[in-house]
């Protein structure tokens, strides 16, 4: 038997399947054999498309970063919006996306939870910081010009804010994983989020309360995640 497919189609098939498995079981714990079995092809086919297993991981991270960019591009490029409106718009868009893809987000939280996925996480964070920082820096510069922000070094600050966001998400997810059935954890998580927002406001020198980075939809995702985790007591191995 010998099924032949279009190059891009097959490649996407590998990428999608691998992403699913990585989210499920982690990068290290997902073998190339598992991937080719899931796709239904041979080992040779895999190495026809990717030089190494890590190469696939890289392409995955790049793709994710691209998609994240595409999500916020319309807001970032809108000349009508003020810097603060752009920031709020960016977060509103990503929050809406998170709410729309609740299950994916809860699963993705797991990736960020476990150190198992440290490599996957590092790659994804780096790629998305690199992709997003320039646009964010431009927003900061605009904010300075508008008098709404006081950012002395937009580029460095943009990277810093994004890295900080990744750290917060990481700690966030860790809490999600560590709890067993603590109903108050959701509030604690939202508190962490608050601290992050206030910190960003202070870093940028914007008025307190002007950044609206959390909305009801994100809150509901958090609650859904905590409830999901609370329900299943020890379903894992």
């Amino acid at each position: 038997m010998h099924i032949v497919k279009d190059y891009d189609e097959r490649k996407a098939e590998f990428l999608d399947t691998a992403m699913g498995l990585f989210l499920e079981r982690g990068y290290d714990e997902t073998s190339v054999n598992a991937i080719i079995e899931a796709v239904g092809v041979s080992k040779g086919a895999f190495y026809h498309y990717f030089a190494t297993k890590e190469d696939l991981l890289d392409e995955l991270a790049a793709r994710a970063a691209e998609q994240a960019m595409a999500l916020t591009a319309p807001v970032v490029e809108d000349p009508e919006l003020s810097a603060i409106e752009k920031m709020n718009g960016m977060f509103a868009r990503t929050n809406a996306f998170k709410a729309r893809n609740r299950e994916l987000m809860v699963t993705l939280a797991r990736v960020f939870y476990s150190d198992r996925n440290a490599l996957l996480r590092a790659r994804m964070t780096r790629r998305s910081v690199e992709a997003t920082a320039p646009a964010l820096a431009r927003i900061f510069a605009q904010g300075n010009a508008e008098g709404a922000m006081k950012v002395r070094h937009p580029e460095q600050t943009a990277a810093l804010v994004l890295e900080l966001g990744a750290s917060v998400v990481s700690g966030f997810a860790r809490k999600l994983g560590e709890i067993d059935s603590d109903p108050t954890i959701a509030d604690e998580l939202l508190l962490s989020m608050d601290v992050y927002i206030e910190s960003v406001e202070r870093i940028l020198g914007v008025a307190s309360g002007s950044l609206k980075l959390v909305d009801d939809s994100l809150v509901s995702v958090v609650r859904a995640a905590t409830q999901t985790k609370g329900k299943k007591e020890k379903k894992d191995d």
Copy 2:
């Protein structure tokens, strides 16, 4: 042949040797076989002391965090000092340590440079944040009481500041690794450091310029690192 050593002594031997190899070649790229060969013992001996390879990594991270704590403890516990003095004292001590152990620091920068060491990095960061955050939170509370700081949630903010520091160091090290022989890179690194300090000042609500987190000794370490990197063009395989 059968060499018997004291438990703690042999264990420390494993830890030290493994640390050296991890710093040199990375965690994943250092096999258990390489470790036992370097120590000069059998595989059974290794697994007599550590349940898994990751277990060793954990103990390594814990030990590093402990050492970092011990370094700053005298300052943190000094009742004579103000909160800001404590912070400056903590950094001064760690900077002095870095200056004293220049080579180790340059090597350590490599660990933070490459994604190869993502797991090692994640573990070390997590451990040291966990170990340091409570003390830092107490300093923040003290700063609030003294009227020098405005930190609404000391514990969460402490964790955030430490995570941010780790991110900055990470980006820092990446730059060190990416350059080939750019003499201006040192200035760029110090600028990043400046942005970090100013960000922390803003997050804590302290007066601008009151935090002295960088001194000449750290600057000299940075310069040494950039020069070292600049000299050896492509010695690595």
